[in-house]
Every structure is written in structure tokens, then in C-alpha cells.
Amino acid sequence: MELIFAKSKEGRKGTSLPRTDVPVASAIPEKFRRQKPAELPEVTEQDAVRHYTLLSRKNMGVDTNFYPLGSCTMKYNPKFHERIAVLPGFADLHPLLPQLRHGGGLTQGALAVIYEAQRTLSELLGFADCTMQPLAGAHGELTGIMLIAAYHKTRGDQKRKIMLIPDAAHGTNPASAAVGGFECREVATDSEGNVCIEDLKSKLGQDVAGFMLTCPSTLGLFDKNVKEVCELVHQAGGLNYCDGANLNAIMGRVRPGDIGFDVMHVNLHKTFATPHGGGGPGSGPVGVAECLVPYLPVSRIDKRDDGTYALQYHCDDSIGYIAPFYGNFGVILKAYAYMLSLGREGFKRVSENAVLSANYMRVRLKEHFAQKVDRVCMHECVMSASPQAEKGVHALDIAKALIDRGFHPPTMYFPLIVPEALMIEPTETESKETLDEFIDALIEIAELVDTNPEEILKCPVTTPVRRLDETAAARKPVVADLA
């Protein structure tokens, strides 16, 4: 489709503005003035709306297609959340208001939302406190890493420079540890998909600051040794970081704070049903055990005895300001609505049903694909297309064939320790009928590998574009149309 710029015609307007009710003036000296206007489009509102509406139709989303993208928890996003976020009392609220004299009284409703969401999360995760400030999952990881660094530093334990990370971890884990100033060292996964205890022991020492573990693991498995792992790390003087990307598997059933984790981020856009937005905005609150509370970022929200909420800007040991204000408030608001909807009974029902669906998927698919570990999984199942790959059809090809059959593909080639991985996360909001349709499609594709593999290699054929040459695109990048 042509770019919006192609629809531009000199003099066309897409918006109306208030009449000037003061003398036309400016305090911009001539020498600072832009000589040539920025070449933005000149289109009508209708042109723009039609263009972007048509673009939206070139997307798959949860509302149009089953979207079992592993590790991303593409569950349904309730529609009333969107209405709440645009209420003027929230959407038009300037973030600096509470910093003004008597300003705290002006934003009690918003502060209540953040505080109550934070309390609910702490309770749900088994932590002493939470910060809602991190702006995305990876930002939460970085925050958690900085909390661990502050903890060791305050204790004068400055030689702890190593962050241990399993070989199955998300790429953001080592990247966040590096941005937080740590060196990363990999810990192996054993044949059952658990942390290899021997390998962990051999790497623990006085130079280890902590261990970043995804729970359940990126293989979609619950590590039966997780408590022992946490204890070993503690004995060595390190802290345990929980990557909460997979919280949907254990929400309400396991509280990470109870089993030895000291700090954890959660992804509100995954577990708490806020929209993924085509890649953000997310929100990555971080929960902490008692030992890390003093280091939480400022500003902090406290509830006073009289039931009002107040911001605290001065906490001696705090790591400081990780976000401009209080987090991605609009996202926190939607997640809070979801928490209120679920209530104490709902959290566990979500995880139970998510796990059941993934296992149903696993059992029905395991005769057709390989598995690294054959045991009851959590909220996602990791299949391997290595039998198909031997016949020349790879995970990528299977993904493209799924697109033609009306499904968004699962996560591919992750975790890295599973060759030809297809990581499938159905979520609790999808029905058995939908799962069956998807499973049938995958089985049909697997059968096609034997009968007519060429047909798969041609996929997708139903999409606005065919397979695109990503290698050539990266070699000679064209990343903008300049005027």
C-alpha cells in the first residue's frame, strides 16, 4: 500500500483549530526560524482515517485471530478497560500536579489506583512491596537488577559482579543485567528441563550477585527444584530474580515470594490483560521481598492513616528515578480493572485453565512433533519441528503455513536450547474449539510435510505480501522516506 505521503496534496487540511484570539506574535527570533516546513502530509481527516483503517486490516490481532505466541500471553483484552482509561479524570491529569503545593489532594483517585494495584500485586506474588513504575517488562528487569546492585553495595559487598542466567532465558535477561553493570554467566538446563543443580553450584560464589530465573521456565515447565535453587543462591549470598513473563501459569497458585524469590517483574500486558498495542506500551511492575524495600525507586506512594494517599520523594537508600513519574498509568489502570474483575477467586481460575489448555495442546500434538522434555507443562508447550526440518520444512515454514490457515504463529526458535522450537501459549480465554482448529491445522501441515512439502514452502499466499527478504533489507536498510 502506498504511504500516507502519496495521498498528500498542497493545501488540503485534516483538522480545524481555534481562531486566534490574541495578537499574532512570537518570541522566536528570525535566525532560529525553520526555513522549510517539515514535509508532513496534507490530507483530509477522511484520507487519514481511511488510510490507517485499511492499514489496520493488514494486521492479525487477538480480536481477529487465534494468537498463541508463546511467552507473550496474548489473552483477550476486555473492552471496558479502554473506556476507563479515557475518562477525563484520568486521561487529562497532568503528572506534575501532585508535586505542587497541596497537589496531593488533586490526584487522590489516581494515586489510589496505583497504590491499590501495588497492594494487590504484592499480595498475589507474596512480596512485601511493589513499584508500578517500570515502563515495560525489560524495564522491570533492569529495575530489579538495579535493586540487587543497591542491596550488595549498601552492604559493602562490592565484589559481586556476576549475574547467573539460565541458558534458556529470554534475551532481555542478559541484556538487562549488562545495562545494570553486571557480567553474565550461563547456567545449564538439565535433561528434565530444570536448572542443572551441579552446574549452578559450580558457578555460585562470592562474586555472584544473583540468579535470574524464569518461573515457570521458558520451556513452559515448573522447576521442581526451584526452592532448593533459591536456597543455594541465598546460601552463597546472592539474591533470586524471577522473570515473571510466565506468571499466567502460576498466578494465584504459587506465590514467588513464598518460595525464595527476592525480586520479580510482571508484565501487565501479558498476565493482566492489557493490550499489547502492536509492541507497547507495556508495563513491568516489580515486586520485592522485605530486604529490597528500602531501595525501591522514588517516588513511592503511601497510604496514610486517614485513608488518603501521599507521594514520598525522599527515601535515603532508593535507587532513584527510573521513570519520569509513576509508571505507565494508563496501562496500570486497565490492569487494576482486570484485578478487580478477577478477585480472589479469579486469579487461580485463570492459571488453572491456561495450564489445562496448554497441556491439551501438548498431548494432542506430541505424536506429530518432537519435544525436548515429555512431561506435564505449564501455560505453554514447546514443540520442536526437528522431524519436519529433516525433511526440509522448518519451524519458520510451518509458521507461514499457519498464517494461511488463519492463525497467528506461535513463537519460533525460542528457547534457543530447543532446535526448531515452536512455543505455543493458548491462554485461558480461548475455547477448546479454537484449540482444536489450531491443532488440526498443525497436524494437517505436519502431514503435508510428507506429501507435498513444496506447498508449505510457498506459504503464505493469502497475505498482503509474500515472504519478504529480511537479509537484503538489513544489508541495505531503507528506514525512512525523506522529503
Binding site: 484520568f90 503545593r101 502492536g278 528515578y321 522516506d481
Partner: protein
């Protein structure tokens, strides 16, 4: 309501298939043996109606209706309704990162158009798909300069948003980076002091344009002098101002970042916002975050359709892990889409008109305020829509009293600058009317002298 699709009958069939009697057995087989927690401290679940009522009550407890002259980097601009209509398209907002380009051409083309508009606005050749916010964008710019120059000292002007500076300070704690903060002048960045701070070890100098006091400064020669010392010039900017101001790309900056909230994104109590970033061609492969690029069809029998893909992914965490350019995993996509639709609807002349309205009203507001006895200018030779005035008393206290009269009259700079306790930073957007501005001046006069 937990939005669960399956019925009890479905579950029973599924249990049978997987060989478990019930959830308890499923957990056991999954090796989840830790005791089940009690969540009795949490309230019972509510219906949609109840949650909406509950949150409407909370919304009503916020003073969002104050007449707003508060800015300091976050501005109350007009947002055409078309923006939220488009971002409410569920094909956009229920999708995720466009890993599968054939199923995500809508998102990808939107990112490409967004990148193009950021380039055109800032006068730079390359932009990324966005970062979290203006502060994290500036930090990422700083880290990019550190990587590109292999130097570890950075210089930042105290005329850069104190909010951004506090974030950068926080992120730098554990990195081996020397952060040098250069005090501002009366209303400027004190360019000479900034240049004096640059050494052979300096990776970059970070400034803001217009600066936090609203002042527009001449950066053209400055960037040349920074380049002589082989350091990079980085600026954080205000996109609406760029409708009227010489774009940073023409002033010799290497990296341009900023807070994009002013482009169609509601204030929403601090987020979600939009960090934008554009760079020189030379820095493209050092840039953090997602980047969308054009691509040709791969299949030999294709009609050669042009499409879009995420590109230059070798920079990113999912490939490079701890050696990645950044730990960022997504962009702030829906906010970038808001900015894109905003810029499309407002358009080439519209953005100039918006900016001109801001500029005119700011001049008018400053005149009205300076006419009050005891109110004095602080600098103010060159500004866009924000300026500083000096009050005869503590600005923080005055603001408190103005709030009681229905105004958020500006930001008291004393909160971040000890020596500016009597200074008020006033922002005026196209939304403010002549009457509101006159009422502001009247109210302020009343507060100061009655």
C-alpha cells in the same frame, strides 16, 4: 469475571485427554507441589458494571479540570478525535511486536511512516520505532554515544529537564560512566561552561532545545566545537516547537531525542508516553530499539510487492543478548501510532498553525503576567511557548493558592533548583483562550496583592 472460555464439560474432556482427574492432579503432575497460598486478603471479583462504577468514582477524585498552564515537558495540546478512533482499532491494539511481517504489514507500515515523519520533523535521516519516554530516550542516546566513541565521560546541561537528568543519574549509578552536570545560566545552558567541560574523554554533550526554561538557543556553532573534540552532540527536543524552529538536524546534532507526548497522546498522569529518537546515517547500526525497513518479496514467483519488516535485528537483545545495544524489547508502538495519526491529521500547515497559536498566546500571557506589580521577567529573549517569571514571593506557595482558584499556573522551579524558589515556569498551549489567560493574570494579581 475471569474471561475463561471453557465450560465444565470442555474441561472434563480435556482432563480425560491429558490423563488427569482434576486440577489438583494436573498441578501435581506438573511438579507444582508448593502449598497453595490463601488470597483471602483480596476482595471478591466484581462485574464490569461494578468495576466501572468503582473507577469512575476514583476518576472523579482527580482535579483534571484545572485550567492548565503546567508544562515542563508534558503539554496539554489538542488531540483530534481521529487519533483515538484509529488507535482503538483492535487490529492495531491487540497485535504484538510484528515478528511475522506477512501478518503485520499494518503495524509495520505505520512504524515506517512514523519513522519517516520523525525524520522530517527533526531533520535527521534515520529514526527508530520509538522508546519508552523522553528520559529513557535521552539515556539511550547517551549510551549510544558511549558505544560509538568508546569514551566514558558525558556532559549534561542543567538546562535539560531535571526529570530526565534524575533518570539518567539513576541509570548511570552502576555503569562506569562519569556524568558531569554543568549549571545553567539565568535562562540558558551556559554554552561556554559546557564546552569547557568537554575533554578528550567526553562521549557526548546533552542539551535541550528549547531548554527547560523554554529558551531557544543557538546551537549551530556549538555542535561544531563539540565535534572538534570528537565528542557527539545530543539534543532532547519538543516536537511541536520544531514546526517553527530550525530542525536539530540542520544544527549539527548527532542524536536527537524527545518526549513525544505532545503529538496526540493524553497526559494520563505520566504515561504511557513516547520516546522518539533520530540519528545520523553513520549511527544507524548503533541505535537501540526496533527499526522498521522496506523489503522486497523473497519468493521467486512473487509479484515483487514491496513490504516492511523489522530490520537490523542483529543489534538487539534477542540475538546479541548481553552485547546488545540496549535491553529494550519492544517500542511504545500504540503511542507511536497516535503520533503518526496526529501528524497526519494536523498536517504540514496545521502543525505550523498549532505552534503559531502557542507562540502568540505565550507572548500574550507573558505580557499579561509581567504587567502585574512585582512580577519580573527571567530571561525571555527567545522562547516558544514556555517562559519563566519571577514572583515577589515563594512560587510554590503561590501555586498552592492558585490551585484553590482553579488554575494550575505553572511549575515552581524551586522544586528542582534551590536558587529559583521565586520562579514560575509557565506553559501556554493552543488550548488556552484569551479569557483564561486574562483570568490567570487576575487570579495571580489577587493572590500576590490581596
Amino acid at each position: 469475571m475471569p474471561y475463561i472460555a471453557n465450560t465444565q464439560a470442555d474441561r472434563e474432556e480435556m482432563f480425560k485427554r491429558i490423563g488427569c482427574a482434576d486440577f489438583a492432579e494436573m498441578w501435581r503432575q506438573a511438579q507444582v507441589t508448593v502449598p497453595e497460598p490463601s488470597l483471602d486478603k483480596l476482595p471478591h471479583g466484581l462485574s464490569e458494571f461494578e468495576v466501572v462504577s468503582n473507577l469512575k468514582n476514583l476518576a472523579a477524585k482527580n482535579a483534571s479540570e484545572l485550567v492548565n498552564f503546567l508544562g515542563a515537558g508534558y503539554y496539554d495540546h489538542i488531540i483530534p478525535a481521529a487519533v483515538s478512533e484509529i488507535t482503538s482499532r483492535t487490529e492495531f491494539y491487540t497485535a504484538y511486536t510484528p515478528y511475522q511481517p506477512e501478518a503485520s504489514q499494518g503495524t509495520l507500515q505505520a512504524i515506517y511512516e512514523y519513522q519517516s515523519m520523525i525524520c522530517r520533523l527533526t531533520g535527521m535521516p534515520v529514526a527508530n520505532a520509538s522508546l519508552y519516554d523522553g528520559g529513557t530516550a535521552l539515556f539511550e542516546a547517551m549510551m549510544m554515544s558511549v558505544r560509538a566513541t568508546r569514551r566514558r565521560q558525558v556532559v549534561i546541561s542543567e538546562a535539560v529537564s531535571p526529570i530526565f537528568r534524575k533518570m539518567i543519574e539513576c541509570y548511570s549509578t552502576n555503569l562506569d560512566i562519569e556524568l558531569i552536570s554543568v549549571p545553567a545560566g539565568i535562562d540558558d545552558s551556559n554554552q561556554q561552561a559546557l564546552l569547557d567541560a568537554v575533554t578528550d574523554a567526553t562521549a557526548c554533550v546533552m542539551v535541550q532545545y528549547p531548554n527547560v526554561f523554554g529558551t531557544i538557543e543557538d546551537w549551530a556553532e556549538f555542535t561544531d566545537k563539540v565535534h572538534v573534540k570528537k565528542a557527539m552532540a545530543v539534543c532532547s527536543t519538543y516536537p511541536i516547537a520544531l514546526a517553527l524552529l530550525t530542525p536539530p538536524g540542520e544544527l549539527g546534532f548527532d542524536i536527537v531525542t524527545g518526549e513525544g507526548q505532545s503529538m496526540g497522546i493524553p497526559l494520563s498522569f505520566g504515561g504511557p508516553y513516547l520516546g522518539f529518537m533520530s540519528v545520523t546515517q553513520k549511527l544507524m547500526r548503533k541505535m537501540p530499539g526496533r527499526i522498521c525497513g522496506r523489503a522486497l518479496s523473497h519468493t521467486t514467483d512473487s509479484e515483487g510487492h514491496d513490504g516492511f519488516v523489522l530490520t537490523l535485528q542483529a543489534r538487539e537483545q534477542h540475538i546479541r543478548r548481553e552485547s546488545a545495544m540496549s535491553n529494550i524489547c519492544t517500542n511504545e508502538n500504540l503511542c507511536a501510532l497516535s503520533a503518526l495519526v496526529y501528524l497526519s491529521c494536523i498536517g504540514k500547515q496545521g502543525l505550523i498553525d498549532v505552534a503559531q497559536l502557542c507562540a502568540s498566546k505565550a507572548v500574550f500571557a507573558r505580557e499579561q503576567l509581567l504587567a502585574i506589580k512585582g512580577v519580573e521577567p527571567v530571561g525571555g529573549d527567545a522562547f516558544f511557548n514556555e517562559f519563566v517569571i519571577k514572583l515577589p514571593t515563594d512560587a510554590g506557595e503561590v501555586v498552592g493558592k492558585m490551585i484553590d482558584k482553579g488554575f494550575a499556573p505553572g511549575f515552581p522551579l524551586g522544586r528542582y533548583y534551590d536558587d529559583r524558589r521565586d520562579q514560575l515556569l509557565v506553559a501556554v498551549t493552543e488550548k488556552r483562550t484569551r479569557e483564561e489567560i486574562k483570568a490567570l493574570a487576575n487570579a495571580l494579581e489577587g493572590v500576590l496583592w490581596n
